[in-house]
């Protein structure tokens, strides 16, 4: 599964406005276009995952992820916070690039874990953070995925 196919321009926000970890999780969730109740449940579930250990994996990257019954297919979103945000990342550095991954409880295609691993690989690529900072439009993000995560 190509990562490019899992994003749309609607699920990409290059200028996140939030200033806190909770707010930024909500802002990312909003990119998925769920109803209010689903957003509320998803927020709780993502927070519970964060409580197990931050998904801020270092180098300015966070990958909040979970399974939740509020989605019926794998859903992804990308948000960028150019000034950075405190996400209690493992290296204590501010987070600039956030990838949200939400999978339904059961998936026929079992894409969740491979996609999670692929996103982590992509984001950890040494020159990716810089490339992400240079992007001006959502389509460029999709192009970068196409090019670097074929």
């Amino acid at each position: 599964m190509k990562l490019r196919k899992l994003f749309t321009t609607d699920s990409v926000e290059l200028n996140l406005e939030s200033e806190t970890k909770d707010e930024v999780l909500k802002e990312l969730i909003q990119l998925l276009g769920l109803d209010d109740k689903s957003e509320a449940i998803l927020f709780k579930t993502l927070k519970r995952r964060e409580n197990l250990g931050s998904t801020g994996i270092g180098k300015g990257i966070a990958i909040p992820h979970c399974r939740s019954l509020v989605v019926n297919e794998l859903r992804l979103a990308y948000g960028r916070k150019p000034e950075g945000i405190d996400f209690q990342a493992i290296d204590d550095e501010p987070v600039h690039n956030l990838f949200l991954i939400v999978a339904p409880p059961l998936e026929v295609s079992n894409q969740y874990l491979p996609v999670l691993g692929k996103i982590a690989q992509f984001a950890k690529d040494p020159d990716i953070p810089e490339k992400l900072q240079e992007i001006d439009e959502a389509t460029q993000f999709l192009d970068l995925l196409e090019e670097r995560a074929p």
Partner: protein, 129 residues
């Protein structure tokens, strides 16, 4: 920025609990399976799967305690039979058994504020608008 709390006032509190439980169980099960999330969580997120499972199990018990006795009884009854206790109803179809549910049942969850279940498979239902 404006970041209103998602509106859950109209949701049955017990349904909210059941959905949270369901999600926690999904993460717990995922960490348990041989081909589950444990390797990814360990490698990329530095999570100790056993510790994470223990934390989740504790939270699950805590939430189960908060279920009303009748809801709890039903939850315990459904749980061994199906992986999902709460299922979404999308376009009138129960995603537990893929049978159409009478519109009177799904109706407007916000109006009657009742905990609803599928007449066919017995799962608690959650109507996706």
């Amino acid at each position: 920025m404006m970041s209103p709390d998602p509106n859950t006032d109209t949701m049955h509190p017990q349904l909210m609990l059941l959905m949270e439980l369901q999600d926690l169980r999904s993460q717990h099960r995922e960490l348990e399976k041989d081909d589950g999330s444990a390797p990814v969580e360990r490698e990329h997120f530095h999570i100790d799967p056993a510790e994470a499972r223990a934390q989740l199990a504790e939270k699950i018990s805590e939430l189960e305690e908060r279920l009303d006795p009748q809801v709890r009884a039903r939850y315990e009854r459904i749980r061994p039979q199906r992986e999902r206790v709460v299922v979404p109803v999308i376009n009138g179809v129960c995603y537990g058994c893929f049978v159409s549910i009478a519109t009177a049942t799904v109706g407007d969850q916000e109006v009657h504020q009742e905990l609803q279940s599928c007449e066919n498979c017995g799962s608690f239902i959650y109507v996706v608008s």
